[in-house]
């Protein structure tokens, strides 16, 4: 399109404004994490005059932050994998096999993503208590499955559905059982869909707070978001370390978003547009 130059400048300005609004809070947290304590207690200068990594060091010295990072990573990775495996298994029949009640099942799956977590957290707490799972990875993993699984089922069912139906038919005629057609033809072709679903499940689990907060108690299972909320401050809030921890927990998702941007967008819009 041809735009008049004046209009172009206005839209460019607006664009800059949007980026400032979007990114400056994040940048500010990054700047805060680099300020020494003395500069945190006053507000000019805005930028650190003596940038320091002290808060990052403190993070790993004052509490077992590496352990907490490992919890977060392990739980998120296992959640994503579980959801992918179980979700792909379920998505295939929903997309391709002659099972009854598909609409009902899809409604159930969609409904499960819409339940507020606060409704299930109480009863799940009772499950965990009975099974003795509190403060273990399992507790968090299992609870994260409640939103990761519907997500992957929904996204993958859509994805399988959009692969040409003839491919599945061809595989069947060539001699595949439904299962073989799934594993040898549909799955290898679904790498983009699997990536999108996996990355989203990972991000959701990595950032989840309510379940992790409720089912964990110690560094045996505490995840990074929970650790940020429960910073052991004695009486003042350690803003510098909180900022450092925020950066540490945010950088992985930023990398994921920048690398898998297309997949994520596809995944997020799958339910809404191509549903």
């Amino acid at each position: 399109m041809t735009a008049r130059p004046g209009r172009d400048i206005v839209s460019r300005l607006l664009l800059v404004l949007v980026l400032v609004w979007t990114l400056s809070p994040l940048l500010w947290q990054g700047i805060t994490s680099l300020k020494p304590d003395s500069e945190l207690m006053q507000l000019s200068p805005l930028l650190p005059s003596h940038p320091t990594l002290a808060h990052y060091r403190a993070l790993f010295e004052h509490q077992p932050f590496h352990r907490i990072m490992l919890n977060s990573f392990g739980i998120a990775a296992l959640t994503a994998m579980t959801a992918l495996v179980v979700g792909a298994l379920a998505a295939f029949p929903l997309a391709r096999l002659p099972v009854r009640g598909k609409l009902l099942m899809l409604g159930f799956v969609l409904g499960a993503t819409m339940f507020p977590a606060i409704l299930t957290v109480g009863p799940l707490f009772m499950f965990m208590r009975v099974l003795g799972l509190r403060d273990t990875w399992w507790a968090v993993l299992v609870s994260h499955t409640t939103f990761a699984l519907p997500l992957t089922i929904w996204m993958l069912a859509n994805f399988f559905r959009e692969l040409p139906e003839d491919l599945y038919r061809a595989a069947r005629v060539d001699g595949c059982s439904p299962w073989q057609a799934f594993t040898r033809i549909l799955l290898p072709l679904s790498r983009p869909g699997l990536t999108a679903a996996g990355v989203l499940a990972f991000i959701f689990s990595w950032t989840e707070f309510l379940y992790a907060f409720t089912f964990t108690a110690t560094e045996a299972s505490r995840t990074v978001p929970v650790a940020i909320v429960l910073f052991p401050g004695l009486h003042e809030i350690r803003w510098g370390e909180i900022a450092a921890a925020s950066v540490v927990v945010t950088v992985p998702v930023i990398v994921l978003v920048l690398v898998f941007h297309r997949h994520i967008v596809q995944g997020l819009t799958a339910g809404a547009l191509k549903g």
């Binding site: 352990r67 392990g74 994998m81 509190r134 089912f215 108690a217 110690t218 045996a220 004695l234």
Partner: protein, 442 residues
């Protein structure tokens, strides 16, 4: 030409990597949960896990004490794990950890209001066998009362708190005023001093009106001081009595009618109040004893200008302070109760209390410490405090205290913010309180 094997290799490789990653993760998970992160303890050495939080001031004296304990008890190691600063979150962590056992905690510091709850839930051990009447005699009786539930004693008072009034000696002297014995006089003094100073940044009276447990402490001081009550000893409520209603109305009026307290008290906690007063921004403040040594520390703008005394009363009645403080108990599932008890005995010993009193500025729970010359020399405030602490009143000792507190926080806060008239709020609170108190009869 293409070999058919080529096509499969990357897939297989990928699969193998995935399986390996999974194995690693599960191994790590198993490895880490089955043993504490710091490594397993050996046969003879016992490791105690001590969880505590909310220690104002310097942490080092406590660490030194623990080192000293370890030196005298070579078979015991203590791992101190501080909790988050927010008391509600501490409570939740305890609840989640202790519920159902296998908490890994041995010794825990408890807010005085949790003891009955923890006792009823079976999370801590009764200490009657270890903590005999002879040993108790030296402790403040009100602190012991708060640690008694179902005729058993569940925790040893570690340090004690009571609400006190801090005032600016210099300003009162300048206007020829005395520390106000009544609330009425406090209002008058504030008017005179603020009127004279003409300093917009100077506030009159700062207290804790934020929606949290501190608000209940403040409110109870007004309510009890006015002869009202929340939960009567007979287990019924007294929330809607005129005495209680008037007291709550008076709190609101301090802000909205008398204007001696700025509206920011509705968001102030201890630290906000302390910072304001320490910055010379208030004439009076209500706070706990811990604040005194911080006001008096080097570099403080109000150093040497601060006086401390009992809270005012209504029309010459008795002044009442809310009893606060932290107690030490033993987790029910502790595998080393003997060592845990030795540690508690040590931390509550006169020697340890003296150290904590002198170096941290917290109030000891043993009366004898108040007469120790070295302690008195470094913390002269203690002699002023002792009668106040002696009279301080524990909040209702009931396992349902957290629920009671939740209800009251919400309604008191609404009153202070001007969202609901006191009467309406108290009626609502009473209805919810009765609903909760039904639990006690189940």
């Amino acid at each position: 030409m293409t070999s058919p094997i080529c096509e499969q290799t990357p897939v297989k490789r990928g699969r193998r990597a995935l399986a390996a990653a999974l194995l690693c993760l599960t191994a790590l998970q198993g490895g880490c949960t089955s043993q504490p992160p710091s490594g397993a303890d050996d046969t003879d050495v016992v490791t105690l896990v001590f969880r505590h939080g909310k220690l104002s001031g310097d942490l080092r004296p406590l660490q030194d004490l623990i080192r000293r304990f370890e030196a005298t008890h070579p078979t015991v190691r203590v791992r101190a794990e501080p909790l988050p600063s927010n008391t509600d979150q501490q409570h939740q962590i305890y609840a989640i950890n202790l519920e159902g056992g296998a908490s890994g905690i041995d010794v825990l510091a408890m807010d005085v209001i949790w003891i009955a709850e923890f006792a009823r839930a079976g999370w801590i051990r009764p200490l009657d066998d270890l903590f005999g009447p002879g040993q108790r005699a030296e402790f403040f009786p009100n602190a012991l009362e708060a640690a008694t539930y179902g005729k058993k004693i569940w925790a040893v008072p570690w340090y004690i708190d009571a609400g006190v009034l801090y005032y600016r000696k210099d300003l009162l002297k300048k206007y020829g005023r005395r520390p106000p014995p009544t609330w009425e006089e406090l209002i008058e003094t504030v008017r005179i001093v603020l009127g004279g100073e003409q300093e917009p940044r100077l506030y009159g009276f700062i207290w804790q009106g934020r929606q949290y447990e501190g608000l209940i402490c403040n409110a109870l001081e007004f309510i009890w001081g006015n002869g009202g009550d929340v939960l009567r000893p007979d287990g019924w409520t007294d929330l809607t009595s005129p005495a209680t209603t008037n007291a709550v109305t008076f709190m609101r009026d301090l802000i909205h009618r008398h204007a001696v307290s700025p509206s920011l008290v509705t968001t102030a906690d201890e630290e906000t109040s302390r910072h304001l007063f320490a910055g010379g921004r208030a004439l009076f403040t209500r706070n706990w004893p811990y604040a005194w040594s911080l006001f008096e520390q080097e570099g403080s703008p109000v150093r040497g200008k601060v006086g401390v005394g009992p809270l005012p009363s209504f029309g010459g009645g008795p002044a009442v302070s809310t009893l606060g403080g932290w107690h030490l108990g033993i987790a029910h599932d502790s595998r080393h109760p003997e060592a845990a008890w030795q540690f508690i005995e040590f931390l509550t010993s006169p020697e340890a209390q003296k150290v904590m009193a002198r170096k941290v500025g917290i109030a000891p729970t043993r009366r004898s410490v108040y007469h120790d010359p070295k302690v008195v020399a470094s913390q002269p405030i203690l002699s002023t405090l002792q009668p106040i602490l002696e009279r301080a009143r524990p909040r209702p000792v009931t396992p349902f205290y957290p629920m009671v507190s939740q209800i009251l926080q919400s309604e008191f806060s609404a009153v202070l913010a001007g969202l609901r008239p006191p009467r309406t709020a108290l009626v609502a609170a009473e209805r919810e309180l009765l609903h909760t108190l039904l639990l006690e009869r189940l």
